[in-house]
Every structure is written in C-alpha cells, then in structure tokens.
C-alpha cells in the first residue's frame, strides 16, 4: 500500500457513485455547442457573493454536485473560488469544454462551461473526474482531458476548474 492509494480509492468511489446515481445524459451536439461557447468576460467578485442560484441544491465542494457531470480536475470551490469564480490571482480560461448536466431540482438539462482557472500551480484539493457525455480530444469542445488554460495570458498552468451555467440545454 502506498501514499496515493487514498486518492485512487476516492477516485474509484466517486466513479462508483457516478455510475450508480446518474443516468447518461444526452450528449451535446458537438461543433454547434462549441460555437456557442462565449469568450467569458472577467470581473472581480467579493468572496461573499452567493455562489449558488436559488433553483439548485447540493454541496459545490462535493464531486457529486450536479454541475460537475463532465468535470475533470480540482474543484475551485475548494481552492478559494466557487462554481462560478476563480481563486484570487488566477486567470480564467476564456474558452473551454462544455457538458450538459441535469439539475435535480427542476429536472432540466443545462449547458455547463468548465472554465479552468490558470496561472498558479495545481490547487490539489477536491479532485473530481466525471465523464458524462465528454468527448475524445479530437472533438475538443467537449473534451476534459485537455488543459484548457492554453488560451490565457499566463500560459497553460492549471489551478482548478469551475462549472458555470451557460443556459438551459433545451
């Protein structure tokens, strides 16, 4: 037994949860979705800005949280950010991959943008890998195995991942 076994155990548990609790959501329509991903504007938030909307429930620092259905990385909610904010001193990636996740509160599917926060080293907290509807890397618009920090000024160094609601999928 070795020092990172616990990570693997956690990853395995998370994967198991993903399997048992969630059906496979409809995959996004590839290139059309990519075209709709905006280059997100960047602003400043106070740390106490509400991080969830009224129409949703759950713990944004848990890998089980509904928005994370196609995420891969460290949750910004555990890293000084939130589902829709990057930690202080990091730079959000303007482009990224998107997924479609079902909000259990209203039963609707939403397009989620998994923007990476960049320019500091890996946060290392709340690692989370779920692959509901993600695509191979030759279809990058839905691919979570890529480092999406590539579009930032600060280069490709990856700190954590957000899960921003872009809108309803239907």
């Amino acid at each position: 037994m070795n020092r990172l076994d616990r990570i693997a155990e956690r990853l395995a548990r998370q994967a198991a949860r993903g399997i048992s609790r969630r059906g496979l959501l409809a995959r996004l329509g590839g290139l059309a979705a990519a075209a709709s991903v905006p280059a997100l504007p960047v602003a400043r938030a106070q740390a106490q800005t509400p991080k969830q909307q009224p129409g949703e429930k759950g713990d944004p620092s848990s890998c089980d949280y509904w928005r994370y259905c196609a995420i891969d990385g460290f949750l910004c909610s555990c890293c000084g950010g939130s589902v829709s904010t990057c930690p202080p001193g990091t730079e959000p990636s303007p482009i990224t991959w998107v997924g479609t996740c079902r909000n259990p509160v209203d039963g609707k599917d939403y397009v989620i943008s998994y923007n990476d926060c960049c320019g500091k080293a890996a946060c290392g907290r709340c690692i989370c890998n779920r692959n509901e509807g993600d695509t191979p890397i030759y279809q990058p618009q839905g691919a979570n195995d890529l480092n999406w920090c590539l579009g930032t000024q600060s280069g490709v160094v990856y700190n954590c991942s957000t899960a921003v609601v872009l809108g309803a999928a239907s």
Binding site: G18, G133, P136, Y138, L146, C149, S154, V156, V157
Partner: protein, 381 residues
C-alpha cells in the same frame, strides 16, 4: 578505470581476512546503464498531476523490480520519443521562466539511455498539447528521424523536429484534425472532429503535406476514442465508447476501415474497455490485451481489474487475466517472453505480470503520484 576502485579495495580487504577487517574508504561514483534498453526494462510516465511542473518518467527493470533512474520532464511532458534501437530518446516538455508563470519555452531534449544525462535541445513553438499523454499526442517516425508533436492552442497543428539535424523543421496546420498515428516511414493519420481521418506525408526533409481524407469512419454517437493501439506498420486499432473495434489502414490513398468487431460481443452485459492506456498489443503473437470493467458509457475512462486477451486474427477472447489491483494503463513487453505492465492513475505502483499465464510477478512501489503512459523497451532492432 576509476569506477573499479571500490572493487580493487574490496579484493585487498578479502586478502586481509575478514575477521580483522575494517571498512575502507569509498569513492562516490555515478551509475551508468547499458547502451540499449534490455527487453524487460520499461519507462513509466508520471505527469505529477498535483505538482505538474515536476513531471517525470521512471525507468524500471521489471525482471528485478529495480528502479534504474529517471528523467525530469517539465510541465505536462508527453511520452518519451524512444528510438527503436533503444539507445536514445527525446523528451517533449514545457518550462516557464518562473516555474508556473512567465515566459513559456517548449523544448525537445535528447537523452542517451546509457547515462540519462540531458543533452542537446531543439526549441519548439510554444504550442505543444497540454493534457494527459496519449499514444497519439506525439510520435517518432519509425526510423527515429523525425519527431511529430500535436499542438492545440486551440488551433490545431503539428510540429516536426529533425532529430538527425537536431533542428526544428516547422509547424504545419491541420484541417481540424488531431493527434499523430504513424502508418509508414514518412506518413501518419490524424483523427478529425467529424469522425473522418486525414492522411499526411512527410517530405524527405520533414515538411508535412496533407494527403487523402476518409469519410466519417465512426458514428459520432459511439465514436472511436484517442486511446488506440498500433497493430502493424500501416494499421491502428481504435475502440469506440461501446468497445467496438475499428481497425483503420493508412497505406492507401485515404484511411480505410479494414475490420470492425466488438470486444464485448452481442451481449456485453455492461462490460466495457476503460482507462487511459486501456489496451496493448503483442505483435509477434498477434495478441491484444484489453482492460475491462462493467459500467455505463460515462465509465469509459475508469479503471478495470480484468484484462481480456484476444487473438486478433480469430477475434476470439483466448484468456483472461485477473489483476491483483485495478489498472488504467497497461502495456506488454515486445519480446517472446512477454511481461504485462499495469498501473492506475493516482496509485504510485507499477505491477508486473507474466503476460502468458497472468501470474503476478512483482510490484514496484513509491513511484511518484499519477502514472499515465507506460512505454516498454523496443525489441528487435
């Protein structure tokens, strides 16, 4: 022969008689390695996902379980470009002037197996793919002359470096296509976003010219992944989300599907190929090794604890290996007494099995943090 001085001292000591022996002063020396990788040595990539600027690869003697050495690879380095002769390799890596920020430099660094010292460099356009290393993210031509690296910025292109001239050839755009699958001495295929594949040729001096493009080769609802395995000079075996096998040949005017079958048959019962490097091919015997588990499509990257062994000519499952622990990456040594290597992302161990009878032989522990791609020694050239 300064390296032998300790031996000489030991001999003198033995003559003196061990009863009255006192330990003698030693000289500190640096280990050297064989000129070529022995058949059961293997390189294992650790992207160090929690500390990615410190990526590295470990060299293991799988027969003894000994750790033989390592190379540092920088941020998000790709798999090693190991020459078929096994005597040298190049490492594609990215560095920042301030560790995790500042000016980015992408560089190809030359190493000799015998001493693992960083040698010459070729500076690359700072566009190298950053992400998990897959079989197609970078590849040498079979003769070791050119290194081809996939770029994603998100514009897609490839960089070619000439390892003989030790110089950059250039960067070449691709038409919405990704990754590098060599299918001949100066030819490779790419996977495109619409499910087609694109041919590309290298000129004698390494410049890329585009060749034929296929029609879409798979259904985008059940696409082939980028976790493929090469099964001959011109053929690659791809696997779809639902574990269908699609063999694509790149020797003609355009990439062509030459075989289509399923790892899991008409009644899959939830079984699925899964992992980061989920399959391995033993060319001499035409044997495919596939890491299998049960789960939905969203589990296609998850570890498996069974390795199904197929005869690719008959397309029949001929054996099954029950792994001692789950794996996301496997590889098989190329020799006639093949070893099966298995590792799981997030677990710092490489496990070694007899690939023929499935018996676990040993584990090498304390190997970094996040193992990804396993590269056995090339054999036979």
């Amino acid at each position: 022969m300064p390296g032998l001085r300790p031996l000489t001292l030991v001999a003198a000591l033995l003559l003196a008689g061990s009863a009255t022996a006192q330990l003698v002063p030693e000289e500190l020396v640096v280990e050297s390695l064989p000129e070529k990788l022995p058949p059961h040595w293997v390189w294992v990539n650790d992207v160090a996902f929690f500390n990615m600027s410190d990526g590295r690869a470990y060299l293991i003697d799988a027969d003894t379980g000994r750790f033989m050495g390592m190379v540092s690879g920088g941020y998000s380095h790709l798999k090693l470009g190991i020459d078929r002769r096994g005597d040298r390799f190049v490492v594609p890596g990215t560095y920042y002037s301030r560790g995790t920020r500042g000016e980015r430099t992408d560089v190809l660094t030359f190493y000799a197996t015998k001493n693992l010292e960083p040698g010459s460099e070729i500076i690359l356009p700072p566009k190298k793919y950053s992400g998990l290393p897959f079989v197609g993210t970078s590849n040498l031509t079979d003769d070791g002359r050119f290194m081809i690296i996939y770029n994603f910025t998100p514009e897609q292109s490839v960089t070619v470096a000439d390892l003989e001239r030790k110089a950059l050839v250039g960067e070449f755009e691709t038409p919405g296509c990704a990754l590098i699958y060599p299918v001949g001495p100066r030819r490779f295929m790419m996977q495109c976003g619409d499910g087609s594949m694109q041919l590309a040729n290298l000129t004698a001096d390494g410049r890329v010219t585009l060749g034929g493009v296929s029609k879409p080769l798979w259904d985008l609802d059940n696409p082939a992944t980028e976790r493929a395995v090469r099964i001959s000079e011109s053929r690659w075996m791809f696997f779809t989300f639902d574990s269908d096998v699609i063999v694509v040949d790149g020797s003609g005017d355009q990439p062509k599907v030459v075989e289509k079958w399923s790892l899991v048959g008409p009644k899959p019962d939830g079984w699925r190929l899964g992992g980061l490097q989920p399959s391995a091919y033993h060319a001499a015997t035409g044997t495919l090794y596939a890491v299998m588990h049960q789960g939905g499509r969203e589990t296609r990257k998850d570890p498996g604890q069974q390795v199904w062994v197929f005869d690719v000519r008959t397309r029949k499952k001929i054996r099954q290996i029950d792994l001692a622990s789950p794996a996301t990456s496997i590889a098989v040594s190329e020799d006639a007494k093949p070893l099966l290597y298995a590792a799981q992302f997030g677990v710092p161990s490489l496990h070694v099995y007899d690939a023929l009878n499935g018996q676990k032989l040993r584990s090498i522990d304390q190997l970094g943090q996040t193992l990804t791609y396993i590269q056995p020694a090339p054999v036979g050239q």
